[in-house]
């Protein structure tokens, strides 16, 4: 099968790959780039475990073709922490025990970050609606919602101090 040659940016790094035209971005990230943080839950855009951003836009990477990201900027969960320093969302997920098996967690973190980038002070209702595209079968969501709320508050405290 003839491949598509793609030059893109993933978590700030220039990346090149060749993939079949019908291969999804999720498969490219996991199997070609070795970024296995994004998970495949359903493969049909229902569960959000594969959430990434493309040019800042939250998407399911299972519903994007690898070939589509030519010249775009892709952000995955691997780019969330700053070196060894966890992103506030990651710290709060740990603090609030907002995960058990962890399969949904990368998707929740990326979706929550996309929410806070757009709306730094979401209400509980806004958090719940924004995360409606992410399924978790362990936590019952409450701890996740509290962790996102706590991270939002901490991030706005830090922003105020600056």
């Amino acid at each position: 099968m003839a491949g598509v040659h793609v030059s893109t940016t993933i978590n700030g790094d220039a990346v090149e790959f060749v993939c079949p035209g019908n291969e999804t971005l999720l498969d490219v990230l996991r199997d070609r780039i070795g970024l296995t943080g994004s998970k495949e839950g359903c493969g049909t855009g229902d569960c959000g475990a594969c959430s990434v951003t493309v040019d800042g836009q939250l998407v399911c990477s299972c519903l994007v073709l690898g070939a589509e990201v030519e010249g775009r900027k892709v952000e995955t969960v691997e780019g969330l922490a700053d070196g060894d320093k966890l992103h506030p969302l990651q710290s709060k997920f740990i603090e609030h025990a907002a995960l058990q098996c962890g399969v949904c967690t990368p998707g929740f973190l990326i979706a929550a970050k996309a929410l806070l980038d757009y709306n730094p002070k979401p209400s509980e209702e806004e958090i719940r609606y924004a995360l409606a595209g992410n399924l978790c079968r362990c936590t019952g969501y409450d701890k996740i919602v509290r962790a996102v709320d706590a991270a939002a508050k901490e991030m706005s405290r830090v922003a105020k101090r600056k």
Binding site: M1, A2, V4, P20, G21, N22, T24, G43, T44, G45, D46, G48, S51, Q57, L58, V59, C60, C62, L63, V64, L65, A67, E68, E70, A111, A114, L115, Y129, A130, A132, G133, N134
Partner: protein, 286 residues
């Protein structure tokens, strides 16, 4: 599978027109990739239209709005002028899927996927939206209700592409609304739905009306009888009864696990009444 991302609509049209085997257009991909994943289709060619400048933006002119075919639905909600002018269309488009889906799905794709339950389509039909279609024979404009011909089928010919959807500039005293029934609050497909668009004349009397229903027939249906009932009224109870009855009469739904024929038929009438009331308030009626 060959993947192409042309930068002009003509090139895209020509690729589709010349394609041998199965060829599909890719806008947001939220339906196409699911169908590929589930092996319902095996494309030989996919033409991505997102690199075509004329599909990429929402533009406002003296005559109204033009929404490019690759504009994701999230962008409609974030466009203040469009949201103010056509709140029903925008709320319908923003009901589709999650934030992840909103970042990709498009109203042109929703239209061309031709699901009878497509959320944005009843609102677009009620709003008299038009599809700008580019094909080997050039450009033509077609009312959106003429695009779908049945579940998954359209009137578009080989090589024809919806480039954008246009909405006229609403008159001062007009309003539109869209409501759907789903058994949950989010992330579901309409069991049935209704879009209403009204213009008021003097003293809050309805001058023109359009009522469209979703998920109650093989395509989204326009209900002229419901619109006739609304015209000349101020949405008194007797009028709303007639609207509901006209809508029920226009229903020919399927019976499935998401809703029975009886349920869909009755709820379509209820939603049309409620949507009419919201549209009336938005138009400034009291």
């Amino acid at each position: 599978m060959r993947y192409e991302a042309p930068t002009s609509i003509k090139e895209a049209s020509s690729l589709m027109a010349r394609a041998k085997g199965s060829a599909f257009l890719l806008a947001g991909g939220t339906d196409l990739l699911v169908r590929m994943k589930s092996d319902m289709i095996e494309p030989d060619l996919v033409v991505d239209i997102k690199r075509i400048a004329s599909t990429q933006s929402i533009t406002k002119s003296a005559s109204g709005f033009k929404i490019g075919a690759s504009v994701p639905c999230v962008a409609l909600g974030r466009n203040k002028e469009l949201s103010k002018a056509w709140p029903g269309v925008v709320e319908a488009a923003n009901l589709i899927g999650s934030d992840q889906i909103q970042g990709r799905c498009t109203i042109a794709g929703n239209l061309c996927n031709a699901s009878p339950a497509a959320d944005s389509v009843p609102a677009l039909v009620a709003a008299r939206a038009k599809a700008v279609v580019v094909g080997p024979q050039g450009r033509r404009t077609v009312p959106v209700e003429k695009v779908a011909t049945g579940p998954g089928t359209t009137s578009l010919k080989k090589g024809e592409i919806v480039e954008s959807i246009t909405l006229s500039k609403p008159s001062g005293k007009s309003g539109d609304a869209y409501l759907r029934f789903i058994p949950r609050t989010e992330m579901d497909i309409a069991v049935c739905s209704a879009g209403v668009n009204l213009t008021l004349g003097a003293r809050g009397v309805v001058k023109t009306a359009r009522v469209a229903l979703g998920a109650v027939a093989a395509t989204v249906v326009l209900v002229p009888a419901a619109a006739r009932a609304l015209v000349g009224s101020k949405l008194d109870d007797a009028t709303l009864e007639k609207v509901a009855a006209a809508c029920e009469a226009a229903c020919a739904p399927i019976d499935d696990k998401r809703g029975t024929v009886e349920f869909r038929t009755e709820v379509a009438g209820v939603l049309a009444r409620r949507a009419a009331k919201i549209a009336y308030q938005r138009a400034g009626g009291k």
